[in-house]
């Protein structure tokens, strides 16, 4: 890719080497003093409270997980001064981590920038975090997220501008330089007058994938940067093709929001990433420290469900997908798919809304309340009271009613106790322990009373949901004017049967979560101001309704690809739906149509699985043309596959994936191959270390990338429907360098 350091550039090279050494020595000095101060703080903390673990770095790091929550509650009883100290120590620990990284590589770029009202060009070095020489009062390195750094991502040399807190700032750039610095040594640098040198990017992309997700902080493209730094819209939606860097953008955006939060009033607790799976969570913990951030809260959607409805035995999304894809018993697979589609739809959400409105009219059985022989509350008046008050959730209104009733009971307590004492005295027994006996009687009757009251003031969500499906006629009445699926009767039967068992289906769990949030309350996340969501196409309308209730005051960044759905079809109307449900004053849909992951050949091959009008631009990098291999018997195909694996190893591809349709198929392939070649089966998303040869089902491969991909069982029995087409698209776009297909029998009509 050319010589970066020209002979006549020795002067520049000397300058850069000296500058690098100076910068590193400043960082080192800061690191040393920070380490001392941090140790002192830790000692103080240990002395003042021995109970607090010395290693307290996880103290505030994840407020959202249940385990840490209890820890937090436990810790919160200690005095505030100590927790302040812990917080300080925690912040220092983060800073130490960043400085250690910066000593290895303090910056990756430089722009020479001249403000319009000045005469000289200033050298702006850009790195993962800022470095300030306090003695000289000089900024040695600018954080990549600082306003001026955006110039590097958005412009070539010439006239430029950027948005600063005080307004738009204009100026001129006459040099853009990029560095490769490793272990404190300058390996090379080069100047480029366009945005980010395509050569540099191409070289980075052609490397074999490492086990960890890479940061793209050095190679962020202009349109990616626009998304990462957008603070104008309250809802940003991104439709990005496979390999366009959605997940990277999501992570960089989270890091950017954290950075912006520091200057605004946002703390880590105000920003949440909704991660689709465990793997994504590991990406977060791997990547964000390299971006200068550590404490980002991530929340898995399934954890949200579990926390809200407080149940453990729930079908996971993966279990549902496996059931949908592997269902050879056509009928049962069909009905669970139809049920899923219906119960996550906007129509069903509307039915639930109507049902909730109708609850106090029809389903809550108010009863007159008597105490001490008198009527305290009249059932009709209570109903009117609950119906009249419309501004809070039904569950809250009913709780308020309960408080009111109990207040009236407490007022009457003394007179009631007097009467009870009369009974006890007249009965002639227990005279020795009169007070205790009276109290015992009072407790007994009060218990009966309050249980009667709670029959109508407490909402049992599961019962409420059941009633809806057990009353078909009522259900039809509620859904007047809405379109119901043809097989609605079977969905009734299917749901009623499922609701009898302890094991909750994924779609029913979603509906229960929705009802819970709209009827009772969930205040836990009300302080969240920014939510970042990846893989939006995995979510249905009801998911977004849930997110909207959970984070009422938040802005959203939603990234997805309508072509990467599993077990269903989706189109661009997805984003209209999201827009309508989240209902923010301002929103924008941005398209990322350039794929950086695959070679041009692989991309070209994958587009056959897309709707015709869909266009993907490739970042031109070429490689082998994908081939389809076949053999007469399964055993013979296995041999071809083994030869291909051997070839990939010869080529020094570090990660190789054999992708099958379902977990069942993956297991059977693994059983056949494991004795012949070293290979691993991926059964869940827990594995983030992807160097080696793996077998996995398509739905677990989402979001991952491999140097080489082999699609197995590419025959007409596995892949033939429109849904299967999407699976093939996902599988084939996982490949960076090499893609091949294998089958025996009759080739899939989709190939």
């Amino acid at each position: 890719m050319g010589v970066f350091i020209l002979e006549n550039n020795e002067l520049e090279k000397d300058f850069e080497n000296r500058h690098l050494d100076e910068t590193i020595s400043i960082a080192k000095k800061q690191l040393i003093s920070l380490r001392i101060s941090n140790q002192e703080k830790k000692d103080e903390i240990t002395v003042s409270k021995k109970e607090i673990p010395e290693e307290s770095s996880h103290y505030i790091s994840n407020l959202w997980s249940m385990e840490n929550f209890h820890e937090l509650v436990e810790l919160s009883q200690f005095a505030n001064p100590i927790s302040d100290k812990i917080y300080e120590a925690e912040r220092e620990a983060t800073k130490i981590l960043i400085l250690e990284k910066m000593i290895n590589s303090p910056y990756f770029a430089r722009i020479d920038f001249k403000f319009d009202d000045e005469n000289e060009y200033e050298k702006i070095y850009i790195g993962i975090s800022s470095l300030i020489d306090e003695q000289a009062n000089d900024i040695c390195v600018y954080d990549w997220r600082s306003p001026i750094s955006s110039v590097f991502y958005r412009f070539g040399t010439g006239r430029v501008f950027y948005d600063a807190p005080a307004g738009k700032i204009t100026g001129e750039v006459n040099l853009k330089r990029q560095y490769e610095i490793k272990k404190g040594r300058l390996e090379y640098f080069f100047d480029a007058d366009i945005q980010i040198s395509d050569e540099f990017l191409r070289r980075l992309l052609s490397q074999n994938t490492s086990s960890k997700m890479k940061t793209i902080v050095e190679t962020i493209q202009k349109d990616q940067d626009v998304i990462i730094r957008n603070m104008d819209q309250e809802l940003i939606m991104v439709q990005g093709v496979a390999g366009s860097g959605k997940t990277s953008v999501a992570l960089h955006r989270a890091a950017y929001l954290m950075y912006r939060g520091l200057s605004g009033r946002l703390g880590p607790e105000n920003i949440v990433i909704i991660s689709p799976n465990t793997l994504f969570e590991q990406y977060i913990s791997n990547v964000l420290p390299d971006l200068g951030e550590k404490n980002v809260n991530s929340l898995k959607f399934e954890d949200i469900i579990r926390t809200v409805i407080n149940k453990e035995n729930i079908q996971t999304r993966n279990e549902l997908l496996e059931c949908l894809l592997s269902s050879y018993d056509k009928k049962s697979g069909d009905i669970s798919k139809k049920s899923m589609e219906f119960k996550t739809s906007a129509q069903f959400v509307e039915i639930l809304n109507r049902y909730m409105d109708d609850l106090p009219h029809k389903w809550i059985e108010f009863r007159d309340v008597y105490y001490d022989g008198k009527q305290l509350m009249n059932r009709q008046l209570m109903k009117i009271r609950v119906l009249k008050e419309k501004d809070s959730l039904l569950g809250l209104r009913l709780k308020k009613l309960e408080q009111l009733i109990l207040g009236r009971v407490y007022e009457k307590r003394n007179s009631r106790i007097k009467k009870l004492r009369g009974f006890v005295l007249n009965s002639g027994k227990h005279t020795l322990e009169e007070e205790e006996t009276v109290r015992m009687l009072s407790i007994h009757e009060s218990t009966v009373l309050v249980k009667e009251i709670r029959k109508f003031t407490e909402l049992n969500i599961t019962d409420i949901y059941r009633k809806l499906f057990y009353n078909k006629e009522y259900f039809y009445k509620l859904s007047k004017g809405l379109e119901l699926p043809d097989c609605i009767e079977s969905i009734f039967d299917f749901t009623c049967k499922n609701l009898e068992s302890e094991y909750l289906q994924y779609d029913d769990a979603l509906a229960l979560t929705f009802l819970h949030l709209r009827l009772i309350v969930c205040n836990e996340y009300k302080d969240v101001r920014q939510v970042v969501i990846d893989e939006a196409q995995d979510y249905y309308p009801i998911h977004f309704e849930i997110l909207s209730s959970l984070f009422p005051k938040s802005r959203f960044t939603v990234l997805g690809d309508i072509n990467q759905t599993i077990g269903r079809q989706e189109d661009l109307s997805l984003y209209d739906q999201i827009d309508r449900i989240l209902c923010k004053p301002s929103s924008v849909l941005i398209t990322m149509d350039k794929s950086f992951r695959c070679t041009a050949e692989i991309l070209e091959y994958s587009t056959r699985f897309l709707p015709r009008a869909f266009e993907i631009k490739s970042f031109s990098r070429s490689g082998d043309v994908p081939e389809v291999y076949t053999a007469d018997s399964p055993e013979a195909v296995d041999d071809v596959i083994i030869r291909e694996i051997a070839y990939c190893r010869e080529m020094n591809y570090k990660s190789v994936a054999l992708i099958s349709k379902t977990a069942k198929d993956a297991l059977s392939l693994y059983e056949r191959l494991k004795s012949k070649i070293d290979i691993q089966l991926i059964k869940s998303e827990s594995n983030a270390d992807l160097s080696g040869t793996f077998i996995l089902p398509v739905y677990l491969s989402k979001g991952l990338e491999f140097d080489a991909v082999m699609i197995c069982d590419a025959d007409n029995e596995h892949y033939y429907t429109e849904d299967d087409k999407k699976l093939l698209y996902i599988a084939s776009t996982r490949a960076l360098h090499r893609l091949n297909m294998f089958y025996t029998g009759i080739i899939s009509p989709l190939l």
Binding site: Y410, E435, E436, R439, M440, I443, S446
Partner: protein
């Protein structure tokens, strides 16, 4: 400590050793203590901590730690 005091009161009422009382010792329900003793416990806790325990709440005291929590909440609101 509130727990200690409650456990002592309870031990005296049911004529047991203080050490045998745990936060999990059951108060209501089938394996709970006798109803009259529960009433005694409530009365004495009210007197000692100078609080009012509503009779409607007593059924939620499944075990010792529940009444302790209840008292703690009342005292912290004061």
């Amino acid at each position: 400590m509130i727990y200690k005091k409650v456990a002592k009161i309870l031990a005296e009422i049911i004529d047991a050793e203080y050490e045998d009382i745990t936060p999990e010792t059951e108060l209501t329900g089938e394996s709970g203590i006798e109803a009259i003793n529960l009433a005694r416990l409530v009365i004495q806790c009210e007197k000692h901590f100078k609080i009012i325990i509503h009779d409607e709440d007593v059924h939620t005291f499944k075990c010792v730690k529940d009444i302790v929590e209840y008292i703690e909440n009342l005292l912290s609101d004061k």
